[in-house]
């Protein structure tokens, strides 16, 4: 709870420019994703596994202000993503050895 007060009194808000830059990055990454999918199936899947989480990360970190939040909120999101990853690994370890 100690960083609670820090978050609350935090006044250094990012300006318009930061978010516009992030948006430009997101559009460029989308273009890269589409370009990769034109190359072929394997490239498209690699794009899905690398560029897509990166785009989602940018939205979470900047647009959703996680960059400016304390460890509690960051932890809530990471625990959720970790839980989904565990489900994913468990399912595929089951499928693979059936």
């Amino acid at each position: 709870m100690t960083d609670h007060a820090v978050t609350e009194t935090h006044v250094e808000h990012p300006g318009y420019g930061t978010f516009i830059k992030v948006w430009v990055a997101l559009v460029l990454l989308t273009a890269a994703l589409v370009a990769l999918s034109r190359i072929g199936q394997a490239a498209a899947v690699w794009g899905l596994l690398t560029i897509t989480p990166l785009k989602a990360g940018l939205v979470f970190y900047f647009f959703m202000h996680l960059k400016y939040e304390g460890p509690l909120l960051k932890g809530v999101v990471l625990v959720t993503l970790g839980t989904l990853l565990i489900f994913f690994v468990l399912l595929f370890s089951d499928v693979a050895f059936r």
Binding site: H4, T7, E8, H13, P14, G15, Y16, F19, I20, V22, W23, L26, V27, T30, L33, V34, S37, Q41, A44, V45, G47, L48, I51, T52, K55, A56, V59, F60, F62, F63, M64, H65, E69, L72, L73, V76, V77, T80, L81, T83, L84, F87, F88, L91, F92, V95
Partner: protein, 200 residues
């Protein structure tokens, strides 16, 4: 009553995030189901994925990314006390949300026209893997579309609050939380685009 004494903006954001992680698990479950079924029917998913309109999917991605930008710019504006600009940005988000839904409805209408809709006679003649692909497509984009509609209702309500000065430079947690919801809807679409349109 001193409203200041009863405010906990961090608590509000924490509550919103706890709700958002339940949404992440909801869609995450569907993403995991998709991954398993795609690994089981790779050829059928590829075949069925060819039916989808890539330019429309990509256009809708840019539309939603831009709508996310305008929400976050609306927050910057309200922090600086620029009420009119904040409302203009938020109204732009609503317009882009409506654009997304219109494009989506054209897409779905084209599918329906080709006899592709849940429980259709034509769908029953396709291979099981293709039926599953379209089942997932309609379930996941449909559930996402419902979230877009819900987000637009929430943001319209917040737009009204800004106009009435209930959301303002020293009190904008409603806009922040509404924005968080809208961004999550955007993130879900970021995953839906490659899953259905690009990498199937």
């Amino acid at each position: 009553m001193n409203e200041h004494a009863h405010r906990d903006d961090f608590g509000s954001r924490l509550g919103m995030w706890l709700f958002l992680v339940t949404e992440m698990v909801l869609f995450g479950g569907l993403f995991i189901a998709y991954s398993y079924l795609r690994s089981r029917y790779p050829m059928e998913f590829h075949q069925a994925g060819e039916e989808l309109n890539v330019p429309l999917g990509v256009t809708n991605t840019i539309v939603l990314l831009t709508s996310s930008l305008t929400v976050v710019l609306s927050i910057v504006a309200i922090q600086r006390g620029e009420k009119a600009r904040s409302m203009a940005f938020l109204a732009t988000t609503l317009g882009l949300g409506a654009t997304f839904l219109v494009i989506k409805s054209f897409e779905w209408a084209a599918k329906f026209h080709h006899g592709l809709y849940p429980n259709s006679a034509h769908l029953a003649t396709l291979l099981p893997g293709e039926q599953i692909f379209f089942g997932l497509y309609f379930t996941m984009t449909g559930l996402h579309g419902l979230h877009v509609i819900a987000g637009m209702i929430v943001l319209s309500w917040i737009l009204r609050m800004i106009s009435k000065d209930e959301v303002r430079a020293d009190r904008y947690i409603h806009l922040e939380n509404g924005g968080l919801y809208w961004h999550l809807v955007d993130v879900i679409w970021i995953f839906l685009l490659p899953l259905f349109y690009l990498a199937a």
